[in-house]
């Protein structure tokens, strides 16, 4: 039985800070934004967090395809910034979107790829007919220590996907994961900001995992990059996805619609899923989309997705990724610091 995406919804806070503004404060010069290929990043409002973002995205997903939330039998919320250490995000999402109380929920964490892991969990339950629909969410208000390189990209946003096996907007044909114990980025319990291994986050982490998962899936399906109309890779900055696409043989044109990081930064668990949503916003029935997430720690999930006719019917039922990107209100560093709770009184 084919399973896949019934609907999707996104949310990106409207506030932005320019990378040049952050560089101005830390005296890092104007070439930082060009070096990262990230020019602006989204910033949550003072009362926004991973839960509010998840709820907005989930409501949008429900609304887009007119789904009865009572059909949802599982809510998996992937984030690395769940507001509670103990107390699930998933339960709040369920109540907020008015699911029945007969659903299972759990919060996932896998750095930037917990959202795609949530999709996999839902696919398992849906494909085996244990539930009717599952809701998979990737949401983050990611953290970067003041003055750390991460501060230039750590952004806020999320996406929600309703997974089922009828009325598919896009079929998930197959997925392949690649996971190792690679400590490239981490945040210990109780610590406000993550730490990272600098250049170690590149070759042995991002590139090794993304290429291993992607090549594994292509080989298994006996496909080549040219078999796909679009591709989306996790976007920690604007350079890595471009470089990994080139390495794998995907063109700039294939990744263009899903490249959201230059305008909104790295939304962590939301990153790859927002890229996929932006691609679904423009894809036509019959198109194939190749998606590969990456989470530090480290792992990648690669998906082969085929767009169905139903996409045309639901597309305009909710705001697109570009709608959110185009609504931008700029903050200076002082207001950004206030929004992010960096000022402690």
């Amino acid at each position: 039985m084919a399973s896949g995406i019934i609907s999707y919804g996104v949310y990106i806070p409207r506030f932005r800070i320019r990378v040049d503004e952050i560089a101005r404060v830390w005296g890092d010069g104007e070439d930082i934004s060009e070096g990262l290929r990230v020019y602006e990043k989204s910033v949550p409002d003072m009362d926004e967090d991973a839960v509010t973002i998840a709820v907005e995205a989930s409501r949008s997903a429900i609304h887009r395809a007119g789904i009865d939330p009572k059909r949802i039998g599982a809510v998996y919320a992937g984030s690395e910034s769940h507001p509670y250490a103990v107390k699930p995000t998933g339960t709040i999402i369920g109540e907020a979107i008015c699911t029945s109380h007969n659903f299972t929920a759990a919060d996932l964490e896998f750095a930037c790829k917990a959202g795609t892991a949530a999709i996999q969990a839902c696919l398992g339950l849906v494909s085996s007919n244990l539930i009717d629909l599952g809701l998979a969410v990737g949401t983050d208000v990611s953290q970067g220590a003041p003055g750390d390189m991460l501060e230039y990209t750590a952004a806020a946003g999320g996406a929600a996907y309703v997974i089922g096996s009828s009325d598919l907007a896009a079929e998930i044909e197959a997925f392949q994961s690649f996971t190792t114990d690679t400590p490239d980025f981490w945040r210990r319990e109780g610590m406000p900001y993550p730490e990272h291994g600098g250049r170690f986050t590149g070759e042995p982490a991002y590139f090794k995992h993304v290429t291993s998962a992607a090549l594994g899936l292509l080989r298994r399906l006996d496909r080549v990059p040219e078999d796909y109309d679009y591709a989306v890779f996790h976007q920690p900055n604007g350079k890595f996805p471009v470089r990994v696409a080139r390495k794998l043989g995907f063109s700039k044109e294939q990744i263009a619609p899903g490249m959201v990081v230059p305008m909104i930064g790295n939304t962590y668990s939301g990153s790859c899923l927002l890229g996929l949503a932006a691609t679904l916003d423009v894809a036509k029935p019959g198109d194939r989309i190749f998606v590969t997430s990456f989470g530090s720690g480290a792992g990648s999930d690669a998906f082969s997705i085929k767009v169905k006719d139903r996409i045309e019917e639901i597309r305009d039922g909710a705001p697109s990724v570009r709608d959110y990107i185009s609504k931008a209100q700029y903050l200076d560093y002082a207001m950004y610091a206030k929004h992010k709770g960096k000022l402690r009184l």
Partner: protein, 387 residues
Amino acid sequence: MRSVSIIGVGCTKFGERWDSSLRDMVAEAGFSAIEDSNVSGEEISALYVGNMSAGRFIEQEHIGSLIADYAGLARLHVPSTRVEAACASGGLALRQAVLAVSSGYHDIVIAAGVEKMTDVSGGTAADALASAADREWECFFGATFPALYAMIARLHMRKYGTTREQLSMVAVKNHHHGCLNPIAQYQMEITHEKVMKSPLVADPLHVFDCSPLTDGAAAVVLAPTEMAKKYCDTPVKILGSGQASDTLALHDRRDITTLDATVCAARVAFGQARVEPGQINVAEVHDCFTIAEILAIEDLGFVEKGQGGKAVEEGMTSLNGKLPINTSGGLKACGHPVGATGIKQAYEITLQLRGEAKKRQIDDAEIGLTHNVGGSGGTALVHILSR
């Protein structure tokens, strides 16, 4: 005093070796040197290893025992000694091995060098490297190595008219050489514009004026020259070995645009070798920063003081110049695993003298030189090698 020869060499790929630990790399270099020399393990009578700061970089001390163990020589109880002279640790290990063989105390001796630098953050690595300067009188006041060499560069520019372009030319040349060296960390061409566009580290030095953080290891096998032919058809003789020290802090020096330790070590090595600087055909010098290569070719007597920048500009030190300098790519492009650098220099010169340097081979190399500096010149080692 016996004449000493290099009968085997080995070197790992230099770079960010995230898949290899210090022990992996030193074993890889050591085994390839042993294989190259045709000696058997039982014949090895001593080991010397240059390593600057494994304690800081990988929290491992007692490197002498570690390399004996991973070379499979611990059960033979071969004496193994770690030596340290900051970035000159490798050159110092080579000298200790030369003295051990030359004195008749040992016959077959391995000199190795190793550093594993990329397991820690850039800041931690910079601080570990700063311990090669005077912690109390330089570092505590904010000096870093780029800052110290930037001051040297500034004064050299003012006194001798050395230009910013000439500094870039050192990096451009060494990157070109690195492109021809399969073990080099950077195998890409750069331009003066690229150097100038790279972030400023300490005016006038940009990122591309500085040697990188590198993982790597190198090893050479030494034997008395009289025994060398038994193992190898193309032994390389060590004609001279000079070592000198100077004040630890740069500000205590007579003249910061001359490394007197280099001048003194060179004088000893040239005297011992009975060779003049003009007879050297190829040299590996300590270009931890671009200005350092300019100082080196002056202080080693290849050009007059103040003429180093001009010599680089005129192409004297290029691969097809009168005296090719840093054919390996130098510290700048081949990489600078601090404890390994001095041994890698001997590895490169040995390849050149044996005619095995492939794409970067220079014609008719008879006599070569290695020059390894610790810190800002508190230690210098010069070795002269010949076919």
